[in-house]
Every structure is written in C-alpha cells, then in structure tokens.
C-alpha cells in the first residue's frame, strides 16, 4: 500500500515536472527574446557610468572577483594569506573612492552609478560599517553598566521592529532633517548609512548569541594569566564569539545583498532599479520574464559566491583543523 502511494507521488511529480519543463522549453525556443538582456549588458554591470570611464567600475569588480577566487583557492604563500583580510576590508571604501574620482581621475557623481557595481558597493560599504557598530551594540547590551545596556537594547529592539523599507525611506527623508542646514550628503551615501544602521541591530543579536556561547571560564582563565579585561575581550572572548556567530553573520550578509534591491523602490538604479527603468522602455515592453530570470541568476550567483566564501572561512577558522 505504502509503496503504491510512493509510486503515485513520484508519477505525479514527474508529470508536473514534465509539464513545467515542456512549457519552459516551448517559451525558450519560441517566445523568449533575450535582446533586453544582451543589448544592455553594460547598463546591468555599471549603470549609466560615462562610457569612457567604464573601465573604473569594471576594474573594481574584476579586482573583487580576483580576490574571491584567490580566497577560495587558498594561497600557499604566507604573506598573501596574511594580507587577504586587509584586502577585503579596504575593498568597499577603495571602490567608493575610486569611482567618485580618486587618484586625480575624472569625478563622477553618484547619480550615474548603477547596476551590479552599485549593488556590490552598497552591500560591501554598509556591511563594513555595520559589523563594528553591531559588535559594539552587542557588547553594550551585555555590559553590566545599566545605562549602556538599556540604550543598546532600546536601539536594537526598535530597529528590529521596523521594516527595512521604512528605515530606508526615512533615511532618505529624515537624515537631511537631522543634519545642520549647510551639510548635505548624497543619496547613495544616505542609503548606505541607513542600511548600516539597520543591519547593525541584526548583527548585534547574532554577535550576542556568539558571546553567550563562550563559557565564563574563558574570561576567568584570561584573568588568571594576567590579561586586562580589555585584552581578554579582544584576544580571547571576541575572536571565539565571532567564530561561533559566523554562520548567522553569513545569513545577514546574504540578506544584506538581497535587500539592496529595495533601493529600487526609492529610485536608486542598482541591479533591480536599472531593470525597472529598462522595462519602462517601449522597445522592451512586456519582457518581464526574461529580465527577471536574468536578475534571479545574477543574484543567485552572487549570494552563492558569498555563502561559499563564508563556508570557506568557517573551515579555515575551525580550531580542530588549525590544531593539526
């Protein structure tokens, strides 16, 4: 009886899969027109960056891909291995500076930044801001000083209660209101700050989970060895806590990359935003499926690459492995 049910389910699933596969094939061969993707590849990559300056975002992305591959291969040379973390940290600020017109290059306003470049810059930049802020908030929430504990907890809980789109919208709207009249920061930077403020609250909770997993004996052992509280935190507790928190931090990072797509609603032309403006073009009207499949593939690849990198890092940091 049970075996027949099993076979029935298999047959039903096969029929469904066959039907889906057949209609997909039919559409691919007869209905699909990929010109909306193929003719606009530069737009997807760098947005409306001036054509003669496109090499700058492309160079930055090439460097990013190289760095990813290098990390995944795992260099044998000691010096390269030691410098890799530093390269990762400077990547986003370097990109912002390089695109804005560092090194005496032609200044390009953030208005013409877009596509995958902007998506990656937003992810990297806000991640680099949010991680230290999140760690500070987590430490604050576990502090035995009530004022510090309450203010960190209040910040974390408030941020986690609001939807991201509201934070981003009000970041665009309110940040100028809270700044002194003469001072203005541009839209991309505002988005980056709002993202970082939001992500820090979630990162703080992940780091707090990691901190809770470290037994108090570790701190006591450090104290016995004569380490000051700060040294024990910096050298003993935090490194272990971050390693424990790494899987959930990875999820946050992937979430951050996916959530940059929300900026499309607020009019930034990152990967999804540029597609929305392309779909509004009469030449490509109605080509939704092609564009969405293409975008899904790009996001899927970027997210998977990030997850792979984090998995690699986990293996690298595994104490059982480094001890042998």
């Amino acid at each position: 009886m049970n075996r027949w049910l099993d076979r029935g389910i298999t047959l039903l699933l096969l029929a469904l899969l066959g039907w889906a596969g057949w209609s997909m094939l039919h559409w691919l061969l007869l209905g699909a027109d990929w010109s909306v993707v193929t003719t606009n590849l530069p737009l997807y990559a760098v947005g409306s960056f001036p054509a003669d300056q496109r090499w700058r975002p492309l160079l930055w992305m090439a460097a990013l891909i190289t760095l990813t591959l290098l990390t995944l291969v795992g260099p044998k040379h000691g010096w390269l291995r030691r410098w890799l973390p530093l390269f990762w940290i400077v990547m986003a600020p370097l990109g912002l500076w390089f695109l804005a017109g560092g090194l005496g290059l032609l200044p390009v306003g953030t208005r013409s930044w877009g596509g995958l470049t902007l998506t990656l810059l937003l992810t990297g930049g806000s991640g680099a801001l949010a991680l230290p802020l999140g760690i500070l908030l987590a430490l604050g929430r576990r502090s035995d000083l009530p004022v510090l504990r309450w203010s960190s907890a209040a910040y974390i809980e408030l941020m986690r209660a609001v939807p991201l789109i509201a934070v981003l919208f009000f970041g665009q709207l309110l940040i100028p209101l809270f700044l002194p009249p003469g001072l203005e920061i541009n839209r991309v930077l505002r988005a980056l700050v709002a993202f970082a403020l939001f992500a820090a609250a979630y990162i703080a909770e992940d780091v707090r989970g990691g901190l809770q997993a470290i037994p108090p004996t570790q701190r006591e052992a450090a104290a016995v060895l004569g380490l000051s509280p700060r040294q024990s935190l910096q050298l003993v507790v935090l490194p272990q806590a971050l390693r424990v928190a790494l899987p959930s931090l990875t999820n946050q990072a992937v979430g951050l990359l996916q959530n940059t797509s929300l900026m499309a609603i607020l009019g930034l032309v990152e990967l999804l935003g540029i597609s929305r403006s392309l779909l509004a073009n009469p030449a490509f009207i109605g080509r939704y499926l092609e564009v969405y499949l293409w975008l899904a593939a790009v996001y899927w690849l970027a997210c998977t690459a990030m997850a792979l990198l984090a998995r690699h890092l986990e293996v690298q940091l595994d104490p059982a492995r480094s001890a042998s």
Partner: protein, 296 residues
C-alpha cells in the same frame, strides 16, 4: 572601582543626550526653516486619495486617520493569510525533505535552495507582472475563476495585487520555515522513528503524532522570528501597488510632508503588530511546553 563605573555611565549618558540634543536642535532648525512644525492635527483632514482595496467603507473625503486604518487592515489581511499559508507550505516542504521518496526530497531541497538566494522583491515582481498579470481568463469548475483582473474563489473576490503579495510572501517565508522544520525534525532522536515504525504506525501518522510534536519546542522560537519577518516584509507590497499600511503612509507623507509624525505612527503600528504576533506565539509556546511536560 564603583566610582569609575558611575563615571563611565554618566559619561555615556552625557554623550548620548548630547548627541540627541544636537540632532533635535538640527531638526528644530530645519522644521522652522521649512515652516512645518510638529503636530497630529492633520490626521483629521480629508485624505483626498482613493484606495483600490478597502475592507471597510472608505471614500477620498474621509480623514487621513481612516485611510491609515484601512491600510492597517489591508496589512493585517495579507499578513494573517500569509502566516497560515506559509506555515502549511513550510511544514510540508520541511517534512518532504526527510521523506523516503527521493524525487520529493530533492524537489523540496531545490525549492529551498533557489528561493532563499533570490531577493523577495524580485520574486514579488515576478508573481505580479509575470504570473498573475499574465493569467488567461479561465473558469475552473464554476466556483473558481482566474483572470488577470482578479481571482474569484467560492464567492471570495481577491485582487491580483493581494494574490501576488500573498503568494510571494508565502513562497519566500515557506522556504525559511521549511529549513526550521527540517532542523527541528532532525533534532528528534532517530530512535523515535524506529520506535513508531516497529509499532506498525505509517510514516505520515508517525510524523504527525510522534515526531512533529516533539520537534515543536525546537521549532517555535525560530518560527516566531520568521512570522515577524513576514509581517515586516509585507511592506514590500508597495512595489506591486497593494494599499497596505506602508503604502498608505508613504502617500500620506508625500502629500502632507509630515515625515516625522508619519514615521512615529508607522513605528507604533509595527510595534503593535509585533506584540500581537510574538504575544500569540508565546502563549502557544507555553501551551505546547505545558502539554509536553504533562505527557512525560
């Protein structure tokens, strides 16, 4: 030592208050400059915009407050339906991942792997523009009628926007719930499976009566945070034009320029929503734990 602790706290408080004062001062300067001021009197003024979907009677001449309430009800509608459907889908997919049928198992695995690596907003746009607006007009058996104008289900009339948001949220959250359910099921000792099998119970019955009840304590806390995520994610409905709380707030703020008051109201509404969800789940959690303890 105690003095130092006090000193540090006073220092932190002073910096925080100073920062807050600076921000508020800047805000006041900017508000005076734009001539807006703060206040909630505008809530009683007529909203002047139409809403496509209203649970209670609403006309553009009604107040902003009433428009926001309608938006709140629309949010509640899609969130409540989404919670139920996502739970069903998630539990089914999570259970399918530990099924004996290899095809079913890998299909469920593929679903989770694909959905979790693609942004929700992109998925929502797909459901709206491709799946629902591309629907041909087909009646199915007289009681159900599909078309790109809306879906009629046993006399229930659902708009395309509502359906797109609901399906998008369900499919996205279902994938996360599936992972949680799988983790919970894996946490139940294998001996329990062997025990019910040796008692002659079928797989489905054993899963429902033996394994899932024991997996619940591990599942519920993570499930609560997924429910809260679903509620927060429902604000993406604005991208497909569904008039939820956030969309109505957005229009209201654009019309009145009352960004700060609007933000405060939105914050309050979401705190209330979160309280509803986490309070309900906490009560459920207590009930489950109580039953489990009694049965031991």
């Amino acid at each position: 030592m105690r003095q130092r602790r006090l000193l540090v706290q006073v220092g932190v408080a002073a910096v925080l208050i100073g920062l807050l004062a600076l921000l508020v001062n800047n805000l006041a300067v900017n508000l005076i400059r734009t001539g807006l001021g703060l206040g909630f009197g505008w809530l009683g003024r007529p909203a002047g915009f139409a809403l496509a979907e209203t649970a209670l009677p609403y006309a553009p001449s009604d107040s902003y407050l009433w428009a926001l309430t309608i938006g709140w009800l629309n949010s509640l509608k899609v969130i409540a339906a989404g919670l139920v459907l996502a739970t069903v889908l998630g539990v089914a997919a999570g259970a399918a991942r530990s099924s004996n049928n290899r095809l079913l198992r890998s299909l469920a695995g593929g679903y989770v792997a694909l959905i979790r690596q693609v942004p929700l907003l992109l998925q929502l746009l797909f459901w709206y523009f491709v799946a629902f607006l591309g629907l041909p007009s087909v009646p199915i058996g007289g009681l159900i009628r599909l078309s790109n104008q809306g879906i009629q289900l046993l006399g229930l009339n659902l708009s395309v926007e509502f359906c797109a948001v609901l399906v998008g949220l369900t499919v996205f959250t279902g994938a996360s719930i599936a992972e949680i359910v799988r983790g919970g099921i894996n946490a139940v000792p294998r001996g329990q499976w062997e025990a019910f099998r040796s008692l002659g119970l079928g797989e489905g019955l054993g899963l429902r009566r033996i394994v899932l009840p024991q997996a619940l304590p591990a599942i519920l806390p993570a499930l609560t945070s997924q429910y809260l995520n679903l509620a927060k994610n429902s604000t993406l409905a604005i991208a497909v034009g569904y008039a939820d709380l956030y969309a109505v707030s957005d229009t209201t703020i654009t019309q009145t320029g009352r960004a700060i008051e609007g933000f405060l109201l939105l914050l309050l509404s979401f705190l209330l929503l979160n309280l509803l969800i986490s309070g309900g789940m906490a009560a459920f959690n207590r009930a489950v734990l109580g039953r489990l303890n009694r049965s031991r």
